[in-house]
Amino acid sequence: MYISGIGIVFTRGRGIDSFEKALKEGWIEPSRTGSIPAYRVGQETLTDASLTKKMRRADRFSRMAVLSAVDACRDSGINVNERAELGIVLATAFGPHATTFSFIDDILDYGDTNVSPTKFSNSVHNAAASYVSAILENRGPTVTITQFKFAFQNALILAGSWIAEGRCDHVLCGCADELGTVMEYACKMKLNIAKEGKINPFAFSDTPVSVPGEGSVFIMLSKEKGLNNYGKATETSFPRNITGNPDLFVIDADGMSANETGYRDIIDYGSLIAGYSPVFGSMLTGSAFNFAAAALMLKNQIAYNCVFQDNPFGAKLCDETSAKNLNEIYCIKICRPEIKTIIKLQK
């Protein structure tokens, strides 16, 4: 399936141009407004005058999803009115947890008959996908996949099956995850937070560090090659071993797994290795952001410089932003050495 559009909301703004700029700029200091350093999305990023009325009741989580989905649609150049069959798949690790916990707090504070119906509707995991569907006036299938580790990969597989069976001509496939106070607390208790604010994707450590992030990415996937084309997503699989020899591996190492030693195996393939978690932050659905980076690299035929080159195992890292002949990129996520996922992208 063809990658015909990308929309993104992340710590440094909104839109594929902002993301490209961030990839070129590299690391920036995370925000330190909460209890941990983190890559938060600013409130100003989540406003859009053209969508004010339609997003009036949407919470932060849904706003991130709506804005990135709308941008992916616009980026694709696909005419909304002529869009015959559009599917929507939203992947998330934790859903709108901030609203969910706020709703539960309200029940405790005010009683179960005295809680906001809007807050209740936003606390449902499918709310964000429903906002996207309603705003795009979509009549195709809409699904939310909630899974900790491989939500985006499973979303891609579902999107691929809808396109393959002819159910949809296009699928908006994306992810969204937010960093609320509860999540901040969970990260603080469960993860090794990088106090200096630097994720180290190429340390391949058994005690990796993280800087939590939040945001949303939507990819417009199409059956046919469209006006805008980033390349093709040819396979998403969970193999025991990685086969093939891509021009570039993009790895999801970001400190969200307890152990990242499994990535050491990638070194033996001899291909270039990159990973961009220091740009957008650590999150379980970070795969979608790396996917967007890979698609952008295929389209532009540019490999972006990796941030933080602490490279104790001598991996062949992408050490400068430069033109490269990129025909195939594998996006790899390894949770434990025996659990791998590959998303294959081709020019």
């Binding site: 009036r56 009741r57 005010y110 005295n114 119906p117 809007t118």
Partner: protein, 93 residues
């Protein structure tokens, strides 16, 4: 009488702030809402879900319950009718 009008004015001001905040009326400032502006339909453009939010808002902030929907239509007509309902019922409770 002067005291009543002063109280009503305070309630209206508070109500407008609560409506903007609780109904996420991002593009409207509290002072933009007229006292007698129709809240639903052609006026401020609120809908049925907003009506339930206002019921919750009245319960939480003023301890008032509106259960009779016929009565609710009259009470929810404008900020002014809401304020008068709050003023009268808070006085008697």
């Amino acid at each position: 009488m002067e005291s009543k009008e002063k109280n009503l004015a305070e309630i209206r001001k508070l109500l407008k702030e609560l409506l903007v905040e609780n109904l996420s009326l991002e593009d409207i400032r509290p002072e933009d809402i007229k006292d007698d502006e129709v809240l639903f339909g052609d006026g401020l453009g609120l809908d049925s879900l907003d009506a339930v939010e206002i019921v919750v808002l009245l319960q939480r902030n003023f301890g008032l319950e509106v259960k009779d929907m016929k009565q609710g239509r009259e009470i929810f007509y404008s900020v002014d009718t809401l304020a008068r309902y709050i003023y009268v019922n808070k006085k008697t409770t």
